[in-house]
Amino acid sequence: MGLLTVIKKVKAKEKEIRLLMVGLDNAGKTTIVKNLCGEDVSKTSPTLGFEIKTLAHNGYKLNIWDVGGQTTLRSYWRNYYEQTEGLIWVIDSTDVRRLEDCKRELHKLLVEERLAGATLLIFANKQDVSGAQSQEDLLKALELDKMGERHWRIVSCSGVTGEGVGKGLDWVVEDIAARIYMFNN
């Protein structure tokens, strides 16, 4: 019995889930995380680094990896101890100009075979701002239907007001838990 087996067991017992929070800069990732943690969202500055936050949610222990402003994400996909179980891709719904960029980056990420099993949640963020695209429009613009057999969902939300955030998180946790922890009571 190696160390890894033990760690895997401990993880299962604690019902841990690892979520990777990604998206273009200024999409509002940190704001969403702060909102989830109940912190003050009014003064968020661009994230320079990356931060792991642990949250308890519906009996699960979420390790949210907020990876802001990183040029390369590869390093965060997996490590010796864990893999990414869920991806949360945050879109700035008001930034029409960079939708093309956003699409390219997202698809680039999704072809990565090492993320193949991960559930994908797309937050159409900043819905509280006027001029925000609807999720149907985003769906078309991002060509989400070309994604193959992945589990995914797009959810409108606002990191500032917190609307939709909980709902999205509920889905992603449930989807992952259905895969991983269904009967591990």
């Binding site: 019995m1 160390l3 109940g38 680094g49 864990e82 589990h151 797009i154 989807d175 009967f183 591990n184």
Partner: protein, 1215 residues
Amino acid sequence: MAAPDDEDLGRDAALVREADDMKAIVRETVEEAEAEGECKTTQRLARARVDKFKAMIEKYKEQSTLLDPHLKDLVLPLATCLKRLSHEHLYEPKDKVESLTRVVRVCRLLHMITTVRGYKTVKKFYPSAPEDVEPAFYLLRSLKEASEARSDAFDEATLESFWEAHCTLLVWLSLLVLIPFDLATIDTREDQGGGSESIVVKIVDTCKAFLLNAGLVRDMAAHLLSQLLTRPDSPGVLKDFLEWSQANLSKDSAAASASDVFLTLGISCTVAAIFKHGSRLSLRAIAPLAWQVIELLESLPESRSNSLIRKLRCKLLCRVGLVNLKPRLALWRYSLGSRTTAGAVVQQTVRREGERGDGSEDYAEDEEDVEEIEEVEELVGSFLENLCDKDTIVRWSAAKGIGRVASRLPKDMIADIIDSVLELFSKTEGDGAWHGGCLALAELAWRGLLLPQQLSEIIPKVVEALRYDVKRGAHSVGSHVRDAGCYVFWAFSRSYSSEVMGEHLPVIARNLLVLSCFDREINCRRAASAAFQELVGRQGKIAHGIEALTIADYFTVSSRKSAYLTVAPKIAAFDEYSGSLAEHLLDTKLFHWEKVLRELAAKALATLVPMLGEKFAHGALIALLGKAGDLELDIRHGAIVGLSELLPVMRESGFTLTEAEIGEVLKLIQAVDDPKYYRGKGGTIIYEAVCCLLDGICKAKVDLPGDAVGKIDHCISFCLKHLSTIVQEYAVNAFKSLCFAYYDGMPLETQIQRTASKYMDLIGKERSSLLCQGYVLALGSCPAKIMWPCADEVFSCLRRKALPSEEADSSEVETRVAAVRGITSMCKTLSSSANTGEQRGALMDLLYGSIIPCLLETIDDYTIDNRGDIGSWVRHESMEAIEVSLFALDSLLREGGSGAPSTSGKDNVETNVVGALIKQSLEKIDRIRHAAYFHTRRILGLTNLEKNIECWTQLREIYRPGSEETDNSNLFDHLLAILRLEQYRNCAIQGLALSAGGLGDSVSQTAVSSLVRSVEEGGEGMLMAVAWDLHAILVKKTGTSRVVVPVMRTIDFLFSKASLVEHGDTKLFEALLTEAWGSTRGCRDIVLLQVALSLIANLTYAKDPIFTASFYKLIAALINRYPKIRRCAAEHLYMRIISFEEDEEERFDVDRATELVTEVSWDTGAAADIKTARLDLFKCFGMEPPKKIENSKVQVAKKDEAMTNYAALVNSAGY
């Protein structure tokens, strides 16, 4: 799974593709098991179905949770069916064999699902009505009896699978016995099976028997027992069971048999499970009994050798120990505040490990003392002892035990425990103790039991564990300790806030990065990188943390080389880390026990030096110079290799050496010039290192006095004589650097004298050609300036060594390889420096006149010795040389050279070269084939040779880069288009015959099928052409069985697979017969004889006159001197006779012939009998026996006088 709601867009794809297929199999099985009457499905069909199911479900072993959505549909029908079958079995029994077979089939599937998904999960779908208890149990008992009887009535598959049915039923019963009624109330048929005990006792007895089992059945029985015995209504039975256990364990050990070990394991498993499931208060009463069991376990002699027993004992210790300790709510525990999505930061409620199911548990107050201090101390002492166990599973168990017990103890006692754990981290303790210590620390941190103020004491110990690497014999131990050390830091990063960890962060970060760059093992590098990532993500405040984690991630550290040479320099760009990285190399890794690692470390050090600056470089230089004379081989080697990398990089970075340092370097040169320096075990690696060092000194152009240069030269010559090719290669490198650095400025005469002339002289003088390898290589790699004036002499010297000769001083294969390599580098040097027209002309003459003809000879080297086809080394090297020489030719022609001397004519040099390569590209060694293919392709890319190579365009077409060119099976197919090019067909056939006629391996098969295919496509003409080509080889190579045997085999294939008999003509057959018969005369090579005989036998199928001629020869072979051949001939005859046509049967006395062929023992019979029988055979076919029959020697006649010889012969003939 959440139902997709209207407003959100998304997709939930199915993850288990095979779900429907699996369900279908389940359905089929259930239907069949419930069908009326005889079971229709055959055993084979059922097995195929089960195998299919197994193949599908086993894919999910790694991520079995994916099955969960389908689990209900898979398990429920089977479980319900099982229930029905069990009731039927008990209440309306039918044919026992039939019904049990059905049960087993159903259980097999259930068991497969259970192994993949785990019994705890699968169990939930089993029926759990009280009325099932009895049917399930009696079914289990019937199965048990049936499997013990092993009656023949059951088919094989069922007999094999009884254990799976046992497991399944035990699991089901373990659910059933939890029914909330008194089991006595459902106990209806006490008289069944004769016994009058209660059902509980019956179950216990059956399980006790299962505990003897060696496999999974035992564990399941233990599980069932634990569920049954912890029922509140069965304390008496529990006590009985423990007493029984005790009695069994304390049996006289002398009488112990192998199965007792299994029983011991079974008992320990059961007791451990009981103490897991039972409630603390009810177990207290029987704890003393359990302690006795533990003591007995310890005293067992097997426990020392059986780690499983020790592990179970440790588990029991923990569980029984906890029974005596109250759970405790310790508010002092350190706990990182945990957030919830509700938004509030709350203090995490203390996890209550091992909390019992009933809510009536009382908790101890934090400051309340433990009553049984002595007992606890003993318990903890026992755990500490187990932490040092030699087996990991025991250490893990102990670490967990410590964690669990500690969480129920007051603060000051925990502090004592931590102190004792830290004492494990000492030099005198073994690796097991270090590993166990790390595990215990991680476990305690995980539970928040290490207090922040203890960290400053703990962290240095863990850092030490990260560096744990102890040499033991030829390897070292400690990777598991380092791995566990990373785990501790990973756990720390998650458990403590950055305020607490603050001051320790830089130390931890530095050490983790060193480990992720430089550890020997991939798992440690990855673990360190993951721990570092966690540290950065959780703690923040790490200098350049994010950059560093991006550089050294899971993927980049996987390859050791890239970790050392790519990742480490990038990390060292950050000032915080460069120092510790370089120091680690200089202190540890340069002197690591593994040579590869030392060499890597030296290279890595060189990449770090520019970043660390001049001061560090000088310090490192002095340190390494000091160690270059160390007595220990590893250290000396590491230091020299380090120096050889350090010196050039110092020069490149512009760090000048001080006089004192040059003095030290000089001293070192003096030292290595002494042969004594290389003495001792492992001298070869010192040779390598010294060559590297000399190379480094030359590259660095250290300011040396003349006599030191002489010493270097002498030293290089000395190393060139070494037999290791690596040493030679390094020495040649050093030689080249020497020429470039110190000789370049001298007068040309002196240069030649010191290099080319010197080595030609040495080669001439050296008696043993093996020792010339290095000289030859060095000679070939003289710089251009030296090479031009004496090119002809150099080449003829090399040529002498490259060709095998009949003379006594003929060179060895290794030397020939070196010589060809020398020619290659000579070609390269000359070609790249041919600047004047005169030089170009000279080179052209040399290439056409000497070099290429010489290479055409070397590529035909087929030397064989006990190492196999060692000539292939020369051929391989020759192909490389040929490519280089043709490239040289191409560039000469491009420069407008005067054209080739033999541009026209069939026999031009280039065409011959391509032919030789084609031959190689179809031969039987895979490596050679591919090399030849790629060489040819590259040569065909040389446009200036177009008019010199025949069929250039067609060849280009064949060798066009295709997608499947590297696939060996296709290479034959791909290249056989060459058969259509008449100029090259013969070459191709020569190569192909060697592959096709080789021993019956895969190469031969592919070659033959390709040959047959292309012959079919090419029509009759092609077949004849190929056959004649093969014949021509037979004629040319008569007596060379290396060639003749495969060629004959290939012809054989043409007969058997391409029906040569029908297409060939008499002329060809005559020619073949002559060759075949000719090769058998006086032949003592059994294999050749067999092949030739088989060829003759093939010819007997042709029409007259070939038939008569060959048939005659076949009969003649019946008195061959070798029994095996005689038998072989008889077999061929028999085969031929039974395939006679009707008219032939009339012509000959076939019946008599058949009788003779089959009845006479041709191999072992007496000589006289054989001779008479043969004469009779001749008569049967109306043939005249050969006249000189009397002279023929059948060795059986000499049997008595040379019994021993005969035995040897029989042996060699393969009997």
